[in-house]
Symmetry: C2
Subunit: 496 residues, 2 copies
């Protein structure tokens, strides 16, 4: 029995001769009363092949294999699927898609949702090379994540060669090693088994694996494979991993540093992924100095590194207007004390950027680079040492409480008067909810004009000290709210 | 005897009949061996007329008056001018102009200079309505300015009606009062005498008076005078005040809030000022939501209110490229705790904005709005209560020490590598000086590649705690500098 949204797996034995990775193809079309979904199997080494399938609907799914290897051809498969258990909400998709709305328009365009209709708001973090560290550190990373608020991790398949992260990995995706070179036609099964194990463990923690397929931080040659090898690698990766509900595809990290790849390459790779991934997992591509054209139809959400050093997540407003897609600021700089310019903001500034972005209807990812520790979270995983992560957890609680139909306040001549400087998330349809964020400003009081005909309760939120103070009584009309003349305050106003 | 750059004044007695302000004109052309400069006299009430003249060169200047009043016509005037005394450097002009360079190009285009060639870097502050307060407060303001580092004050002629500043002024520029109305054809001499006294007192303190000629914060009607009355008022103001060397003309504060005035109006007013001001004092116009076209030839420097709430003085780089003129961010928001969005940044943030702007080759103005005090500096003057003003004084000392030919570092592929995130002021011609500012970043160390062939000394500057720590020894080549993992640090590197 397979639980809905979880992985059905059939193990088959086929040929070991030649190079099964390049020579053998294997497919199966799973069918219930209404639907037929074709998946690609893949080779696991030692003559073992696997077919995986993630049923999105309960019931009986039948399939017959097809292959150019007679040992694998014409096998009957049966997947009996039962309804999803508690906490299993399926894939994360664009909210519009889950709600059956077309295209990119309206507030729902900017958000995500589990496919069963459960709310999902990403609060990401970054551990690029965590699966390439010693076993003990990988376990520690999972333990840290378990105790954190993060529900998305950016992580690479290929090892990472970059300042503070120059060791060889435990395993490589391809057969071979640095000294003797790599066989780019054969994958190395232990690497993939570990990767899958980690994806499953993340899923058990409710964490999405935002898998970075290509990146430029390389000394082994994986960033400079030919177009054909890239496609070969992408097909294998998708065939093998797309059955995990918590997988997102990030085509590249800092794509524009891979200067030897063209836009045509990326567009081709996107088509390959779309063709092989029958589940339509989320797809993005992440920039360094210049943005990819996130309006391309294959891109489900904008995965952004801030380009301006000073105006970062505040630009969510403009990016929403530009792309009409969910905006995920996957790099708004990292908390830490590194020498390099992207990794030395304070915990306060990191927290501020999260708030600024979320109040504007965007999403952010965290990262941490404190050089005094041997393991640096952003690359190795391990432990968190910063000041922002508990505040991000606090923000997540606040955001979980935001009503479904809330959206960033639009500046009209009317509300511009008092509140032109403060972003606000609110429900304009019934005036039931307002959440203002004051950021680095330190007003000692503020005037609010509450919508007529309603009573409100007001809470002062100290986003840094993580306190919520309910003001006594209820409020109507134009009111003056005393504030503590401190940075990082928010005001939450709810209809009684 | 008149000192060079100071005011020669001749008092004449003419008609008192009719309305001398509108009916009588009076001119005199001062002449030495090489030059002839025509000035307009003005009426002071009680049959008294004055002719003023600021000689820019020592020697004998002769003039004969001309007037439509026979009592004022054909009078001989003699101005004997002696060389400027200590501390008297004349007008502040664009550096290009002082150096005899044409147009707007090269680094000198972005700076000011006293006309005698002495360095002048504006560190402004804002006391819009200080001359309209009680005598005692005006004196207190001068005392505060005397003990501050500020060398430019933005100040209005017309009284100010705006939150926290709603009282009637002591005097008005025109005859009349609020109850009975104003006679917009007659000026009120005591107002102008006081204004002149204050301008002279500022000059004695080495402070430029950035005079705001029109502004929208009004309940008396001075912002809604006809075009003809505006011109009448501007002519009188310029005829009377242009002889003071420390006068700058700010056509308007937040010109775009005076929605009933057109661009044609402003352009006309600029022409009127240029025609009447024979000394070519600095001219600007200041915005609220939308920038005036600062590339207009009559504008000597951009007087900017930041439009973006988040990226403020960092935009100096772009504004320099856009206008090729001195960039003065006269409002980058104010330090304080006011309810309104432009007036509640911290002392730290104000100081940071000053540094960010100065390191980029721009200039800033300060302002302070702490509501718990009866007198609020930005409007009334009085006393300073904030945390930024001593730090701005410290910055001024640092900037005074910057060598003449220093300019903002241009990002090239070479220096982009290590230092893309940090603005730097440096002398690229001889590699003798570098001043890096780290702003809100908190790196624990930094790599610098010092230019080859030179030895350097290095100083760590804590811009908030106002300390300068010289690192032991001298440095060559690629070096690692330990930093204290704190915000608001700068590094100064000087050739030994």
């Amino acid at each position: 029995m397979t639980e809905q949204y979880r992985v059905f797996e059939a193990e088959l034995t086929g040929t070991e001769k030649g190079n099964p990775y390049t020579d053998v193809w294997l497919k199966a079309a799973f069918q219930n009363d209404a639907e037929k979904i074709e998946v690609n199997g893949f080779y696991c080494g030692n003559g073992i092949y696997k077919i995986r399938f993630m049923p999105a609907k309960p019931g009986v799914w039948n399939a017959v294999t097809r292959s150019n290897d007679p040992l694998l051809n014409n096998m009957e498969l049966l997947c009996e699927c039962v309804a999803a258990g508690e906490g299993n909400h399926g894939r994360v998709l664009r909210k519009n898609e889950v709600l059956g709305k077309d295209g990119f328009s309206g507030e729902d365009s900017f958000h995500f949702m589990y496919e069963d209709g459960t709310k999902f708001q990403p609060f990401g973090t970054t551990c690029y090379a965590w699966i390439n560290q010693e076993e003990e550190i990988q376990e520690q990373t999972l333990e840290t994540l378990k105790n954190s608020c993060f529900n998305k991790v950016r992580m690479c398949i290929f090892p990472k060669y970059y300042t503070y992260n120059t060791k060889n990995p435990l395993n490589y995706a391809f057969e071979g090693n640095e000294a003797d070179g790599f066989d780019l036609t054969r994958f190395y099964p232990p690497f993939w088994e570990n990767l899958e194990k980690r994806i499953r463990q993340l899923d058990a923690l409710g964490i999405e694996a935002d898998i970075i397929l290509l990146h430029p931080y390389d000394r082994w040659g994986f960033s400079k494979m030919s177009r054909e090898t890239d496609v070969f690698y992408l097909k294998y990766t998708v065939d093998r991993l797309c059955h995990f509900k918590n997988v997102w595809w990030s085509l590249a990290n800092e794509f524009d540093l891979l200067t030897w790849k063209s836009i045509e390459d990326w567009e081709l790779y996107a088509r390959v992924i779309m063709r092989r991934d029958c589940y339509g997992h989320l797809r993005s591509i992440h920039n360094c100095f210049k943005m990819y054209d996130h309006s391309r139809p294959w891109i489900t959400h904008a995965s952004i590194q801030r380009i301006d050093i000073y105006k970062t997540s505040e630009a969510v407003t403009e990016w929403r207007e530009q792309y009409h897609k969910p905006i995920v600021v996957d790099e708004c700089a990292y908390e830490g004390n590194i020498n390099l310019g992207w990794g030395n903001i304070t915990g306060e500034e990191m927290t501020r950027r999260f708030w600024e972005g979320c109040i504007r209807g965007g999403y952010l990812s965290h990262g941490e680079v404190y050089v005094q520790h041997e393991k640096i979270w952003w690359a190795h995983g391990g432990r968190l040492h910063g000041a922002s992560y508990p505040r991000i957890a606090f923000l997540k609680e606040i955001m979980d409480d935001v009503p479904h139909k809330a959206a960033p306040l639009k500046l009209t001549p009317e509300n511009r008067k008092e509140n032109w400087d403060v972003p606000c998330l609110c429900r304009e349809d019934d005036n039931s909810f307002f959440l203002y964020y004051f950021g680095f400003s330190q007003p000692s009081f503020r005037i609010f004009k509450l919508p007529e005909g309603h009573k409100y309760k007001i809470e002062l939120i100290d986003t840094w000290n993580m306190t919520i103070q309910k003001l006594p009584g209820t409020y109507v009309g134009e009111i003056r709210v005393e504030l503590p003349q401190k940075q990082y305050m928010a005001v939450r106003i709810k209809k009684v």
